[in-house]
């Protein structure tokens, strides 16, 4: 108390006292203890939630950074207060200077660095667009306008209003950090345009959800709504299909115009010949219900032809091949082994329809609704009215037709989801106004939307901001290296070519994990790749101002040297 009183009487002493407190060891110990406690709590919080959550709620908050800033002030004041420095304090001064530089360098890197991502594909033209880790609202018409946005902690968007050419005003009303959009239908169209709301429920699959179907749309469970143009079309759609489909699994092997077509049953492990050719086919193995278990072993789940797969061996003269063929028409045959000149046979495994289908049919211009169901129990059809429930033919799944609108307008409803998801999808609501009329729309991140303003279409997108590089980058090749003798991925590498059109400078470089390439001060690191698409790579692009690098690396060196001096060189300095 006495000190404070004196301080108030004399401003110089007051300053001196404050500095002493700011640079005191006691404050250092207190601050370090608080930071340590916060960090311990933060790591446990992260373990129970997500990295995104802890970043948002601890590491990027003002109070946490203020705490780090206070440590910086404490470090600096402690060093300054000891001026004039004595020889034995060299280690202490160097360490503290190093730590301040690291703290400064890290925060500068955060504020001044450029960081973005670049997706490249083999064979595509060189690109110079870097996708930044910042959000932007992009207006593509009437003129391309790009507005970088910042969203504060309360969810307010800055800037709040954007003026567009032609006297238009864009207001950014609302932001959801994590949202999803649902398509809904409302009555209101002037023309006939059907929409059906269905409820899909299954106790066994623990599923119960409502959804809107529009003409031509298909839900996940193979339920679709189609429009019948006239009565004849309607009767075609609601009558049993002609018996053209196969009743059992058949193997078809075609070579030029010759063709072998045999049932699978009874032909496993037998030598078959494509008539009129010297091509021998042998079914080495056949799984009617092919599955992979969690150990990645192939198992046969049942004898029902739910997912037939066969392994074939083909021999013709000197050539020998092994193939996997699939009953699923979306899967192309997969070669296992190929010796000699390729045989070039066409392989097919035809399987009976197993997947249940439910088709709702609306007759054009009328309020009549019908259904046609094709599943393991056979074919059923008839009229259907709202409130009616139909069996879907798999497990205990049933569908209830809840509402049927004849003049439906599709609309979007954005629903807010809880924060803290690993990959949240943000949404932004914007209003366009020309002074007289205005219209609002939710923009989901990354999805372009057309908004009508004064009768003119306007393309809007809420997405990542981007930035052009002063040179181009092309992906020449993407190499995946595997461990010897098995298919475990050992590493991946992007072979890139940089080219500067102005200076004509060119450089080829290999980028792989922990091994970035540098061109004109921009650093390219291997960020991610797609195991399903080995022609594609994502590189992280980063440019730190040189002084930031000097700060951090220099600070690192000083800190290590300083600690060493403090502990081991007291006698010599």
């Amino acid at each position: 108390m006495g000190v404070l009183w004196h301080g108030a009487a004399s401003p110089v002493i007051n300053l001196r006292q404050t500095a002493k407190l700011l640079g005191s060891l006691k404050l250092a110990v207190a601050l370090l203890s608080i930071v340590t406690a916060v960090l311990i709590a933060a790591t446990f919080y992260e373990s129970h939630t997500t990295t995104a959550a802890v970043t948002a709620h601890v590491y990027r908050t003002w109070w946490f950074n203020a705490l780090l800033g206070a440590i910086g002030v404490n470090l600096a004041t402690a060093a300054v207060l000891r001026w004039p420095w004595k020889r034995h304090q060299v280690g202490f001064i160097v360490t503290h200077a190093g730590l301040i530089l690291i703290l400064g360098g890290c925060s500068a890197s955060f504020h001044f660095g450029t960081e973005g991502l670049m997706g490249l594909r083999v064979g595509e033209p060189p690109s110079n667009t870097v996708q930044l880790e910042e959000r932007a609202l992009i207006v593509m018409s009437p003129e391309v306008t790009r507005q970088t946005l910042r969203v504060d902690r309360r969810g307010n968007v800055h800037p709040h209003k954007v003026s567009l050419p032609g006297g238009l005003q864009l207001t950014l009303d609302e932001f959801h950090a994590n949202a999803s959009s649902e398509t809904v239908a409302r009555e209101g169209a002037t023309e006939w345009s059907p929409a059906v709301q269905i409820r899909l429920h299954s106790t066994m699959a623990a599923h119960d959800a409502r959804q809107w179907l529009f003409a031509g749309s298909r839900s996940a469970a193979n339920i679709s709504l189609v429009v019948a143009a006239d009565a004849a079309h309607l009767s075609r759609l609601t009558n049993a299909p002609p018996a053209g489909a196969v009743k059992e699994v058949r193997l078809v092997v075609a070579l030029q115009d010759r063709r072998l077509d045999v049932p699978m049953r009874g032909n496993v492990e037998k030598d078959l010949t494509v008539p009129g050719t010297d091509l021998t086919v042998r079914v080495l193995n056949y799984w009617p219900d092919f599955r992979m278990n969690e150990k990645h072993e192939i198992v046969n789940a049942s004898d029902e032809p739910n997912n037939p797969v066969a392994m074939l061996s083909l021999t013709r003269g000197e050539s020998a091949e092994r193939w996997f063929v699939f009953g699923n028409p979306q899967m192309r045959p997969l070669p296992r082994e190929q010796r000699g000149t390729p045989i070039g046979a066409e392989l097919q495994l035809l399987a009976p329809v197993q997947q249940a289908q439910m088709t709702l049919v609306a007759l054009d211009g009328s309020s009549g609704l019908f259904f046609a169901a094709q599943n393991k129990d056979g074919f059923k059809s008839g009229p259907v009215t709202p409130g009616q429930t139909l069996e879907l033919g798999w497990m205990d799944a049933r569908m209830t037709v809840e509402r049927f609108l004849t003049n439906a307008v599709p609309g979007k409803e954005v629903v807010r989801l809880p924060d803290g998801a690993e990959q949240p999808q943000p949404a932004l609501r914007v209003t366009v106004s020309d002074g007289k009329t205005s219209s609002s729309e939710w923009l989901l991140f990354g999805q372009p939307v057309v908004l009508r303003s004064a009768g003119k279409p306007m393309h809007l997108m809420f997405g990542w901001d981007s930035m052009p590089l002063p040179f181009t980058v092309a992906l020449e090749d993407f190499v995946v290296e595997r461990d010897e003798g098995n298919h475990n991925v050992a590493g991946w590498m992007s072979k890139v070519r940089f080219a500067d059109a102005v200076t004509g400078a060119e450089k080829r470089a290999d980028v792989w994990m922990n091994h970035p390439a540098v061109f004109k001060g921009y650093k390219f690191s291997q960020a991610s790749w797609n195991p399903q698409d080995l022609q594609y790579t994502v590189l992280q692009v980063k440019k730190d101002p040189l002084w930031v690098i000097v700060l951090t690396w220099g600070g690192s060196g000083l800190t290590i040297i300083g600690i060493g001096l403090m502990f081991y060189a007291r006698r010599w300095v």
Binding site: T43, Q540, I563
Partner: protein, 524 residues
Amino acid sequence: MGVTMMKWILICSIWLAVFVEAQELDFSALRAIAVQKDGRKKPLDTVANETAQRLTGRRKDAMELLLNLWLQARDWRAMPVVLLTHRELKQQLGMPVEQKYFTHEQLAAPALEAIVDRASRKDSHARNGVEREALALAQRMHTLAELARADSLAIVPHSTDGKGAWEPIPDSGPLKERLDAVRAAFLKRDSPALLALSGELDAALRAVSPSLYPSRESLAREVHYNQFHPFRKAEWLYVLAFVLLLASWPARNRAGYWAAVALFAAGVLLHAYGFYLRTMISGRPPITNMYESVVWVSFGAALFALVLEMIFRSRFCLAAVAPIAAVMLLLADMFPAVLDPGIGPLVPVLRSNFWLAVHVPAVTLGYSAFAVAMALGHVTLAYYVFKPAAQETIDRLEHFIYRAMQAGVLLLAAGSILGGIWAHYAWGRFWGWDPKETWSLISLLSYVIPLHGRLIGWLRGFGLSVASVLCFLTVLMAWYGVNFILGKGLHAYGFGTGGTPYVAAFVLLELGITAVAVYKKVKS
């Protein structure tokens, strides 16, 4: 009389059978045959050890076991080799509780299938002890069945591609004939023939692709590493040094002291030799997984103790650290399921030798120094509790603790900062609040705080001793806890499960020791 006679003959013949069975065959030529497995080429001896470890939980008679399976010398379904120790699971399966090894036949029953089925439908963290054990057991049975196939081992080298897939011995041809001859010798238990014939098989395999086949030297080195057990020998030397040191202490026997120092130094040398062998075998820096880090921290602690001992000649440094170094090696040896000693190919994120060679050893040597401080802390606290009057000894011990902490702070700070520079270069950011980074900072701060507190006078010798014990718990968290308890972040290649009860027991023990010491100190 006749019955007794018959009994004797029966017993003798059983003994004879056991003796013949147990007669050691000379596997030296077979051991060094190269196998391509799990992404690298290794000697058959290593495969045998890994298999035996996985199936039976130990490495005894590994070659016998592997050959019985691979050469199909015995009915693998009837071999009692599958380890099952979990009492509750045995009860649920209706197996005799006192039995430890079971046959595949016994275990392959609907009861186990039902548990495995239930367990595999659950998330891994929702499984109970029985279910986890059942899955591990199913994995063991799977390993057994996999190996009991003639084509289970890829030993025929690829003819052109150094990284190409090797093949098993074909169904017919000269290689098959040679393998059959080896098999016949193994079945007849004809040791000289086995040695000669496996030598021929080795030569024939080598002749398939002489330039791509691993050199005899490298295969022999790995077999030597498997057989020699350098870390186990180092462990024993530390124990012996400790015993000798204690025995020679009361009489201040110089010869005893120097013999103990020599034994300890020999342990450190063997320890280093073990790392040399591992580095040569794997072709990469020595610390890439939890097992290697435990062995390395033990090595660092022993090395620091030796250096401190040579500087101060106080006996305390060796006496405090020897048991801790030995215990760490013992742990590494005892829990292969948690600390896997296998040498596997490196995960992609670690495939940068500079990073591995500098950042990880520096950080883990920091852990070593803190382990030394912790060991000395225990001794000091023991003095405070049992001999608080020996102020001079206590002062000396506290000086050692201070020195060890300094080394730890320097190494951990340097290691973390080097990691930061590397991350800045490779990932584009110096610091990212990744849990491993954060915890290395937490443990660094937890030592920096008492070191600063000491300067203000908030903490004296006793406080430093308490800190040396308590702060090591943050090291334990940064080292083990982040990977095994938190399980999040970029350093994910080191994640694992298991051992938590032991670590928790250790933490409680340390807290207990500290509490007792503080209580005594406050009371006096």
